[in-house]
């Protein structure tokens, strides 16, 4: 039960209507994009200024309550899930673009600015904000900073960490600090680089200075159809080797195509295709013809069925629907979806994909694959119904085997979605005690008493999950 004086203090800081504590409200905030292992916060506050955030943090310290930062709540690893004895500090109302510095290609934004809206705002200047996660119509810059979000265009443009120059942050002790500067480089340690991807465990970002990119002069989008997904992966390998750096390289497999074509996002793809590869090239128009040829060669070498080149913007959008509508379209296939986010070296993609399919077959689970093939970032989507406890157990077991298979070839357990609560207990697959110890040192430098978003990223057990059954990540899942 949340103490009345604490709530009264919060209401005083943000105003009645921005402090939510009704049962239904807390219920709605019990999870983010990850609906498993929900947890209700004690309250949710919606500040609008840095000063309010700092006061809230100080109030939390005073009353001995933890806090968890949240953006739009679209994250897939439970990074914005409340923890024991915590409130959520949601930054979505801090949504102003504070400054656009056209000459230096820089923007200063509050953390609640929606990713796509930043790009829309600077488009008239011939600029855009490059990191474009699939959730960009909803996710916020603050959330992107926390997760070091990627998206289909990271192959050429990098992830969020390549576009953050400076940050203002409220630290867990309630003080406000600035890190970095407008040139993205300064004396001392790269705190900005350490904060990006820290999943909201080092403090709450209240302002970000971001790099803007010139909109490329020309874009070409290709849709390539293959008989099977392994051939598509091998074609990707050839493209990497050819020296062309596409802006995006995405693959969707047959089951995904079927789901998309049956949904509102139907893109006119042949449902007999084994896999579809979407290639986007951008840059100087005189270079694009040559790059298209290189793509053709690479794909032909893997016996592609067909290659289409988008003739106009509408067709380009149609090609991308196949990829961007995938997650939602698969929502129609089953009540619940478990999305993995492993990364493997691209040369191992074909073999790993086969292994992933074999694993899911063995566990009798329906699988659809969507992935950023250019980065080796897989998104196996496993369909299930969480009301069926046996299915959930199988989904988790399959998930573990998939991650192990990826790590075995030199891959890692998350490329974009972050560790959060979801993959915390799989960190042992990738890192040893000394490696985690170093991370803890960083975390404890900022967050020594663990009041800020505790229990995320770093596993609380010293052992590998397998040897310590109690540490299984999913025992908090409600099986009803």
């Amino acid at each position: 039960m949340t103490s009345a004086p604490f709530l009264a203090r919060l209401r005083k800081i943000v105003g009645e209507s921005n402090c939510l504590a009704r049962e239904g409200e807390l219920f709605a905030y019990e999870c983010d994009g990850l609906t498993l292992s929900p947890k209700r916060p004690l309250a949710v506050v919606l500040p609008t200024t840095t000063a309010e955030v700092a006061e809230i943090v100080r109030a939390c310290r005073e009353f001995g309550v933890h806090f968890v930062p949240r953006g739009a709540g679209t994250g897939l690893s439970g990074g914005a899930h409340a923890t024991e004895n915590s409130i959520l500090i949601e930054c979505s109302r801090m949504n102003r673009i504070l400054e656009i510095d056209e000459g230096n290609r820089v923007a200063v934004v509050q953390p609640g600015v929606v990713n796509a809206e930043l790009s829309t705002a600077v488009a008239p200047l011939g600029l855009f904000y490059a990191p474009d996660p699939s959730s960009q119509q909803a996710c916020t810059i603050g959330g992107n900073v926390a997760e070091n979000s990627g998206g289909p265009h990271t192959l050429k443009y990098g992830t969020t960490t390549n576009h953050i120059l400076a940050l203002e942050m409220v630290l867990p002790d309630g003080s406000v600090e600035r890190f970095g500067n407008r040139v993205g480089e300064g004396p001392g340690f790269d705190f900005v680089g350490a904060i990006v991807g820290s999943e909201g465990t080092l403090g709450i970002v209240t302002e970000a200075t971001v790099r803007l990119t010139a909109i490329p002069a020309g874009v070409e989008t290709l849709l390539v159809i293959f008989d099977d997904v392994v051939a598509a992966c091998r074609a990707v390998g050839r493209v990497i080797r050819s020296g062309v750096v596409p802006a995006a390289l995405e693959i969707v497999d047959r089951r995904t195509i079927e789901a998309v074509e049956a949904s509102v996002y139907a893109a006119g793809l042949p449902v007999t295709a084994g896999a579809v590869l979407i290639v986007e090239l951008d840059g100087l128009p005189v270079n694009l013809a040559g790059e298209i040829e290189a793509i053709r060669t690479a794909c032909a070498a893997e016996n592609c069925q067909a290659i289409e080149i988008a003739r106009d913007e509408a067709e380009r959008k149609r090609f991308w629907r196949a990829r961007k509508g995938a997650f939602g379209a698969m929502g129609r296939l089953a009540p619940d979806l478990y999305v993995h986010d492993a990364v493997v070296p691209r040369i191992h993609l074909p073999a790993v994909l086969e292994k992933v399919c074999e694993i899911c077959d063995r566990y009798q689970l329906k699988l659809a694959n969507v992935f950023h093939a250019g980065d080796g970032n897989l998104h196996p989507n496993i369909c299930f119904d969480r009301r069926n406890p046996d299915e959930l157990v199988r989904v988790m077991a399959a998930g573990r085997e998939i991650l192990e298979a990826c790590v075995a070839v030199g891959g890692v357990i998350t490329g974009e979605h972050g560790v959060g609560v979801e993959k915390r207990d799989y960190m042992h697959l990738v890192f040893g005690a000394a490696d985690l110890e170093a991370m803890i040192r960083l975390r404890d430098t900022f967050n020594p008493d663990g009041v800020c978003n505790p229990g995320k990223i770093i596993p609380t057990t010293r052992f590998c999950v397998e040897s310590n059954p109690k540490a299984r990540g999913y025992d908090a899942v409600p099986l009803a």
């Binding site: 000459g103 820089v106 070091n148 990627g150 990098g158 390549n162 600035r178 890190f179 970095g180 500067n181 040139v183 480089e185 300064g186 004396p187 001392g188 340690f189 790269d190 705190f191 900005v192 680089g193 350490a194 990006v196 820290s198 002069a217 990497i240 080797r241 020296g243 062309v244 750096v245 100087l284 005189v286 270079n287 040559g290 990364v343 493997v344 070296p345 040369i347 980065d375 080796g376 030199g410 891959g411 890692v412 998350t414 490329g415 974009e416 972050g418 560790v419 960190m427 890192f431 040893g432 000394a434 490696d435 110890e437 170093a438 991370m439 040192r441 960083l442 430098t445 900022f446 770093i458």
Partner: protein, 409 residues
């Protein structure tokens, strides 16, 4: 790839001078386990060590405290893994950058690291986050790093990151280690991301007036897509500035961008290694000037900073596309009687002006007395306690390069 590993458990008698101290003994471990033992020993005795690689930038540091020995990583050298189909390579810290560049070039790749200095090692480039003119295309040093192996102050071996190009598994520790000048841990190996070698390359040289308009025109052109490096060189009192541009693209792309550039200035062909030579001339050893300053500011204030340094008597080598001014001076009087002053007030004034232009300035080297009471790196305001706290957690006994990095470490 160094051949001579020798008996590295013993130390060679050799003198290395750094600001504030010198060491007489240099260990050259050839294996990570040796390095680990050496550090563990030092840790037990609370003795500080100097960590070095190619020794090209040892004087870019604050005054060292109580150094008992040097650990040189140049024997910890070699390419362990190279995946030409993947575009990823693993090299040990002591591997010279030049050698690594040659290895990957043979398979059509290039290493996106362009630090000055012929002997610079992979570990040194990472520890000092050393950038060259081609950083315009390559990005920061940290952008090339996928993963690191390290040995801590107490000898503990650890790793961070991985070998894949996209990775958010836990904190991005590599960002902390990169550019930390060996004050948190010693880098022993790195997974690096490669870029495809460009189809065609071209280097152009031109001369242009030193007025603001000309500079701004070149500055804007520096952001043309096929410009990989652009350097504007100018000395006080000179008649003109010299511009060197390196382009990389397809044939058609080169033609297109060459035309764009021609509208600003008459360019001629230059030798393909012109940028390399210019880059390597920026080291202390090559420069011969007593004062070396590196400042970085926002693009729209770059011309202002250029003139500030010229007024102060420095020759400048500017990367307009990056906003970096590399200033060298103090060894001679310029025409018009402007002498570079190495006194504290003048240096700090230059730094203040760089900060006012949205950036910062660091003193890459100074005459001996210049190291008194001056932080060559500067300080990010408000971060001293965090810096000190981080250092305290990683290196409580001040073993690694004590005193050499920013205040608080």
């Amino acid at each position: 790839m160094s051949q001579d590993t020798g008996h590295s458990t013993g130390a060679a008698q050799e003198r290395i001078e750094v600001p504030g101290a010198s060491v007489e003994r240099v260990h050259r471990p050839a294996e990570v386990s040796e390095l680990s033992s050496l550090l563990a020993e030092r840790y037990a005795r609370s003795e500080g060590v100097l960590v070095c690689g190619g020794r090209t930038r040892l004087d870019f540091a604050n005054r060292a405290r109580r150094l008992s020995a040097a650990l040189s990583l140049d024997a910890l050298s070699g390419v362990d893994v190279f995946e030409p189909d993947e575009g990823v390579v693993h090299a040990r810290a002591g591997t010279p950058i030049r050698a690594l560049q040659a290895v990957v070039a043979a398979e059509g790749w290039e290493l996106p690291l362009d630090p000055p200095g012929a002997a610079t090692t992979v570990g040194g480039a990472i520890a000092s986050a050393s950038m060259g003119p081609r950083s315009q295309a390559f990005g920061r040093v940290a952008d090339a790093v996928l993963g690191l192996e390290l040995v801590g102050a107490d000898g503990t071996v650890s790793k961070c990151g991985g070998r894949v190009v996209k990775n958010v598994t836990g904190y991005d520790m590599a960002k902390l280690y990169t550019g930390s000048f060996g004050s948190l841990a010693v880098v022993t190996g790195a997974w690096l991301r490669l870029r495809p070698q460009p189809a065609c390359r071209e280097t152009l040289v031109g001369r242009i007036g030193r007025d603001r308009e000309s500079f701004e025109r070149i500055r804007e052109l520096a952001w043309t897509s096929s410009v990989r490096a652009c350097v504007w060189s100018e000395a006080p009192g000179a008649a003109e500035a010299e511009i060197l541009v390196e382009l990389s693209s397809s044939e058609a792309g080169l033609r297109h961008d060459r035309e764009l550039l021609a509208r600003a200035c008459d360019f001629e062909s230059a030798a393909p290694d012109a940028i390399d030579r210019l880059r390597d001339a920026r080291t202390h050893a090559a420069s011969g000037e007593p004062i070396g300053i590196r400042a970085r500011v926002v693009a729209t204030r770059l011309d202002e900073l250029r003139r500030i340094f010229l007024e102060a008597g420095f020759a400048v080598s500017i990367d307009p596309g990056l906003g970096i001014v590399t200033a060298r001076g103090g060894g001679r009087e310029s025409a018009g009687d402007r002498v570079c002053r190495a006194d504290r007030a003048s240096l700090l004034r230059l730094r203040e002006q760089a900060i006012a232009c949205g950036g910062h300035a660091s003193f890459e080297w100074l005459p001996a007395m210049g190291y008194e009471a001056l932080d060559v790196f500067g300080e990010a305001p408000g971060t001293r306690s965090l810096v000190a706290a981080l250092k305290e957690r990683f290196d409580p006994r001040q073993i690694l390069n004590p005193g050499r990095f920013v205040a608080g470490t």
